[in-house]
Amino acid sequence: MVLAAVVVGALAVAALALRPEQGLLHSGRGPLGHWGFVAIAVSVVWTFGAWTLVQNLRHRFGADRLSLPPREERLREAAAPLLLATVGVIGVLALVLHHFSTGDSTSGPPPPLAQDPVPTPTLATRPPEQRHGSTDHSSLPLYLVLALLAAVAVVLVVVAVVRRLRRFGLRVPQRPGHAGTAAQDDDARLLLSAVHSGRRALAGTGDDARAAVIACYAAMEDALAASGVPRHASDSPADLLSRAAGAGFAPGTAAPRLTALFREARYSSHPMDASHRAAAADALEEIASLLGAREGAHEGDRDGSPDDPHGQHDRNAEARR
């Protein structure tokens, strides 16, 4: 529906820009004939606007796809790229077929073709170039239009390649330097912050060892989420642990130990005592120290770099507290 509405709108814009007054195949100027750049801008803006709108709405309507019957699903798969391509083609055609002009004689309708064998004095007194209205020498240079089209094509290709890379989980190379290091520092700081909040939760659970163990695990979950490994709704504890290990955020045996304690506390009625609580606290401490060491290593790397940010050491010390 959205695509169809966009295509119909594109047709309306194209008709506005290209409206022939002397036949369907005549490249007339139309009401925008005075301002070729306006026609270009309208066409380009329309194409990009339509593309952006479709991309935004696709996520909103994507949830309904599963409920489509297979026949309609196949029809949708065939129609969607066709309509998308149509939007772009219409924009390009609006540019290519437009008859650009700059002279003041272009405001009126073009004179009728020679129906009268005797030329009128007005036509005879006009210079040849004015008789032809918007002729080649008065149009925008062809190379300018082609350059503009080439630029648009390059931008579209780059955007498409980047989106495809991200969809397949590949990372677009980032510029080396301060930005990446700062992001890693922020991650480590968030991790430590989450671990510290777990310690506080541990202290606040009183004598309830089961709640304390679960609080420690929840703190580890928060820490992982802060580092970019959030728990998905369908994740089991093993799934989360596996993804965290894959991302390098669950080094050592502390995270598996804490996960095993959590499973027992959460899903069994086994009596939980101070030993379980102490084991969970130890595992959390170990995770905190590992993360602290990781952050220290980052700090050491940064000290060796020329653009070491001021105050980072103080921030780390604060996080450790």
């Binding site: 695990y217 728990r231 089991s236 899903y267």
Partner: protein
Amino acid sequence: MTTPSTNRLRTAEQVGEQAGAVLREIGRAVVGKSDALELVMLGVLAGGHVLVEDLPGLGKTLLARSFATTLGLDFRRIQFTPDLLPSDVTGTPLYDQRTGEMVFHPGPVFTHLLLADEINRTPPKTQAALLEAMAESQVTVDGETRPLADPFLVIATANPVEYEGTYSLPEAQLDRFQLRVRMGYLTAGEELAMLRARIDRAAPEAVLERLAGPDDVVAWRAVVERVEIDDDLLEYAVALVGATREHPQISIGASPRGGLALVQLARARAVLDGRDYVVPEDVKDLAVPALAHRVSLRPELWVREMSTDDVLREIVDGVGTPTTRRTAAVSS
């Protein structure tokens, strides 16, 4: 042979160790199929029947025979053919000229472990004869009901590719199997190890040691019955089963028996892991083998070569596991 601890109460940890030893022993004969072996062992522990579905030559029969040997179970095999009769499965009464009475001659179903080889090659009437035995552990012949041995386990094999001269198992009979196992091909390394092992032992098959007996299996199943499962995990299992009934690509969802099988298999997996409580991984990892053979896809998906396993995996990835925090307080 029965282990000395047969008659005393065992813990889940002890049963897990014993079952693990059995799996390791079977692994000497069935190379590189640890996942399939574990699933069959779960069927043994959970008291269900197992359908092994895959191409010929992948070790289905060897697997069944190895379990029978290592568990010390009576073993019978029925090669299902188009001319097999129900009485060939259950047994039949014959006239004894000496006594002048009809004497019941038990069929191969009167055993501990029955290998129903290529079960889809026999007509539905004979398949149905096995149905009662699988569902109720008893057979009725000439109006007389006879109980089967305890434990009674059916390992049925089916070839999913050949359709010529086969009779597809009806949904009702598929539902009787607690889980479906696919063997799959070996990796290159595993296949090399299998060939090397064959050359080294200078015999067609490895000679396996008997590590348990029928009483052990019964005792193991009693331990499974004592495994606890949290209410949140039961809700998770119900959500998985319910999702199969609402999925747009599935025409017939899993039955309530599917939910029962999933929970029982999850408890068995907990025991195999040495636990007496179920965790989310137990339910999640067993959803596909426990439910995939109980659902029917819409006909238009057949041409896309989609399998019920694929759809079930999609469902498992979409259904949320229990939250980290407990919904009901449990005292320490």
